[in-house]
Symmetry: C5
Subunit: 309 residues, 5 copies
């Protein structure tokens, strides 16, 4: 995710980091060559080129605006829902820490309840790392070992769904607290409810990660945008001469840019410039748990080069 103060209006025009320009540059160059060729051929009249008026393009514009607008909204919704779900994870882990502190008599005991609470919260942090790894197709072995120890981490990694296993283990700790008499049935219900919502965050993240926008939208949008931009020079050349190349590029910049940006937002858990900073959110959870366990929390992750992973 790009995090930066809004630069001046002038600087905004030339910023590259976080921009989609680098990704669409090759396409723009090819299109520029094509448009230039059309202009030259038109001028030299070596070949008789079709001459369009601009009016028919307005008709295509209806479909294009529906496609691009729709896809952009749907992609952003996925991105924002992903962020909301991870925000819910943040407060559910905090609530797990707070509710367990409320429920358990941490001072009067022999420390057994405190130890179980520690395990519960560690499994929750492990869940969050396992989920991050799952939606990003990454490894999480190091993080699991750090929070679970080697034995538990290894056992967790033998499962197909590591994040779900972590939640079930957290549930077992709650069951032990209950059967040991540290919490009553209501206490169990409170903690179980938090775990259920963490499970909901997981299911939603998996949904976003594994269910792309219907592929046919990508095809329709992409094809319409390309047809539009490659037909455009024929229409513009009669009206504007050589400036047709410039205008074609400006139009293509907006259409291709939106296309690429939608594609980036669509899968919000990746590692592209505008994707969600899951590493930083995992760290937020680590801080919450550490503070609630009375430990020195790790540092918050800061953006490097205006970019937060």
């Amino acid at each position: 995710m790009i995090v930066r103060d809004r630069p001046s209006a002038l600087a905004l025009l030339f910023i590259v980091r976080g921009s989609v320009v680098p990704r669409i540059l090759p396409h723009l160059l090819v299109l520029a060559l094509f448009a230039t060729a059309v202009v030259v051929l038109h001028h030299q009249q070596w070949v008789v080129l079709p001459e369009f008026s601009l009016a028919p393009f307005a008709l295509l514009g209806i479909a294009l605006s529906i496609f691009l607008g729709f896809r952009n909204n749907a992609a952003y919704d996925r991105w924002w829902e992903g962020r909301k779900q991870w925000g819910e994870m943040v407060y559910k882990i905090r609530s797990l820490a707070r509710s367990s502190e409320t429920l358990l008599d941490l001072e009067a005991e022999n420390g057994r309840a405190g130890e179980l609470r520690r395990q519960l919260l560690h499994w929750a942090v492990a869940h969050c790392h396992a989920l991050r790894a799952a939606v990003r197709n990454e490894q999480c072995e190091a993080a699991l070992i750090e929070w679970l120890g080697e034995t538990d981490a290894e056992q967790a990694l033998t499962h197909k769904n590591v994040a779900d296993y972590c939640l079930r283990r957290a549930g077992r700790v709650v069951g032990k607290l209950y059967r040991d008499g540290n919490i009553d049935a209501i206490g169990l219900r409170i903690l179980d409810e938090h775990l259920t919502r963490l499970s909901g965050v997981q299911a939603a993240s998996e949904r976003i990660a594994t269910t792309p926008l219907p592929f046919a939208y990508t095809l329709l949008t992409h094809r319409t945008a390309y047809l539009y931009c490659y037909l455009l020079p024929f229409a513009l050349v009669t009206a504007m001469g050589g400036y047709a190349v410039l205008f074609t590029l400006v139009v293509a910049y907006t259409f291709f840019g939106l296309d690429v940006l939608s594609q980036e937002m669509e899968d919000p858990f990746g590692r592209e410039a505008n994707d969600l900073p899951l590493d930083a959110l995992c760290r937020v959870n680590e801080i919450s748990v550490a503070e609630s366990l009375g430990r020195t929390p790790p540092e918050i992750l800061m953006p490097k080069n205006h970019r937060l992973e």
Copy 2:
């Protein structure tokens, strides 16, 4: 559902699988013939054809963009809500597995609680298969026998609403756990709540499957799009000559394509290319239950030919 990495920009132009092109091709061909006829007649002047300017089409464009945009959004919302509901099913079945593990003393018992828990989860998986079959108008006998045994499966199939029956049977298992003293009233409430949400997923799926978008929208959209595209050649021929055929086809490709795509999304539980992969989601549930019962889980379903059923 089509699952594939985004191909290169060039490849995107020629992909057929998942595209709506095959479905609208006949319509495009008929339109192409019609447009060609208009161009030829116009050229030969055998008949006096009406000559339109393009301007009136912009007026029709208002209505068309409202119809197409609305229908597309509504259809996609149904598709995405269907996916959300099945995502909720995924995490509710996982929660059923986790909560029951938390609540029940699986080790200390004579195994009776474990057996009831197994039944509970099997009924939940059966529910999911029965619902899949119901919204797809398919058979689910094989899956039910696999998870329930022949006797229970047969009895389930005598009911009008098999999925609802499975949930009621799951509820009876919860009642038995409660009356046997394995769980207390709070435990019953936790498990009952999960079953209630599964029932909610069922009702929502039935709603989407049995309540199509109002038919009048389909009529209005379809008729306006056809009128538009069949009047278009008359207007384009004066402005562009023979290129009118090309342009009419490009415009019709986008309008017909969006129309067909909306129709496909509208009923997300079918077996068309862009529909939801219910088989794969049922398998996800089977894996969750198998892992939580300590069994070797089945393999996750993979897309064949980029297509996940």
Copy 3:
């Protein structure tokens, strides 16, 4: 509600049932006469008619597209929310059946609990019929007598809000189950929660039924659409001659059609072609309750002439 498979593209153009054409036909005829008069007068030059260019209509188009698009979205939202609420009713009544089966020891008892459960579910079905009658301004005496017997039905009908009375009576049954010791406080809470949500469905249905879209929208939309269509012939006649009549009608078909359709969706509980099939949904509830009581369920309602009431 119109329920039918999608007909062929050609058939779609000529279907009348479910279409808005019959309702707007008189308006279209009047407009056709008017437009023809304009064309004739223009041709004969008996009177000097104002000559407009089409460009100013694009300016009006902004407002029209906002009005029509907004009203259409808002009307559809009301329709779909109505369906969602009744879908929630479906699963809350099922949950009432399932939870009560889970909670009550139906076999070991002297049948008293079973009898109370039967009453509870009958009151729930009566609630659904009473609500249907209320939002449709219909009678429900027959249905109430069928499910409650004559005495209770008559008493129910003396109340201003029959549906609410049914829920309160259901609540009393729950209270009796509780005070008789058949369920504990948690059981009461579970059943009470289902009743509360049924009450929520009722309040939402009443909201949709009694709070129309702000009347000023209807006025603005209607007036702008009429002004637009009656001014249109003056602009089209100079550009297209006699075809102005045809084009005016096509444009008017889309605008008037959307206007009438929005009006139909806006009150989703009526008995018009595209309204919600409340009878069929009541039947779904009857089936759920009958099956859960071990009775032979009635038949599901089928569409007649593609129409489900």
Copy 4:
């Protein structure tokens, strides 16, 4: 709120009540004078007026449609959310009545529970009147005295937040029921939950009433609409001559109308024609409570002159 059957298409054109015409008439008159002046000056050529083509207005149209469309949607959302919240209040007060009837043994007691229940429901009705008064900047003394008696009403009115005080008093009644042993902890929780949601309705109503749409939107919309309409005659006069006045007025009618309507919807709790009928909703609550207490309910409020307050 305007409540009426849809009049005939012709009648719709001339209805004044509920229309925004009276409110924008002065602005339209001023604009008509201005446009007439432009036409006359243009004809007489006393002054050289700028001559615009209509094309640049399409560019302004982009911004205008975003502003007007956005503001209209946002304003309607506020209106509809207000209605939803008050619909939730309706069913929460009914649920309070029903749940308390379920929980309390009204027959076997010495009537003490019944008396406390009566107090609870009266405080709930008082809450609803106090909230209505707060969001409308009205008095509610009469209603409070009617439902609470003079002493309690006076004490309530000494508080800054009368509605919140009513809820706290209702909460105290629940506490008394609990400490008297009439309900157990679960019963307290059920009733407390209903009160919490009533508190939620209050907070949402206060939010809508005290947080207007950002003022900058009002400014941008208003200014753009005025600039647009006052520049329009210059462009139309060259194209349409004297009809420019007519067309300018039609366009201004839609823009000013939408502007004024948005403003009316934006504050849904006022007493303008299209505002929410809070009086009638309070009456609905009074009827629910009266019927559940076995009293003769008051009459439902009927619209006067098609208008419900």
Copy 5:
């Protein structure tokens, strides 16, 4: 936040406070100079300037309307969600006050329960001040000392996440009430649920404050708007001569204005004119708590110069 009655139509045109005009004035001036230069050069024909027709700008308009419309909606959603979350905080703190009053036997006790209740509510108010400070990057030491005393305030400020610490301390008070026997497990659950929702408000506020809209949108919107406005004079000058400067400015006023306004809404917790009045909302919470503790509440914050902080 700007709070004022709607001024007259004329006054609206000249209001500066709350308007975005001051912020975009420099940009408008630069653009005016540029446009004037284009007009002069065009007139004097010292240089041959490119001559565009206006038609290509309509093509760019598609992209611009998607960008500006989308960004505006997304920014407003953030603003309104922020307000909703703080509205939820308001009623959750009130509910904490009411539920604790319901649960605790405040009169019969030795005052211990009352003292703990006072602490609970004070921590809740401290939470709200700490959250305000966190999302605004401000200090909250004074407010914390006022509500917690120096010792607790200092200890709170040693934590990374002060607001979360306040909630955990509130949770500890609930735990003490529970272990002291003042509330039972259900009572603990009720209060814990309110604290969980406060934690949800915090997570949502942090989400909005730390996750800006994807930076690429800002870039695309900004660049397209600037390109558009700086190319516009070339097209307008041929059509309108000197009036091109006026029209360019009007168009730029709407585009730049929307751009700047979106930017302001996007971060709703700042201290700009249209941002949310967090100070006033904190005061609302202080009043709720003071009234529920029987203390004289502080005054409500009033807008100064139509502006509420």
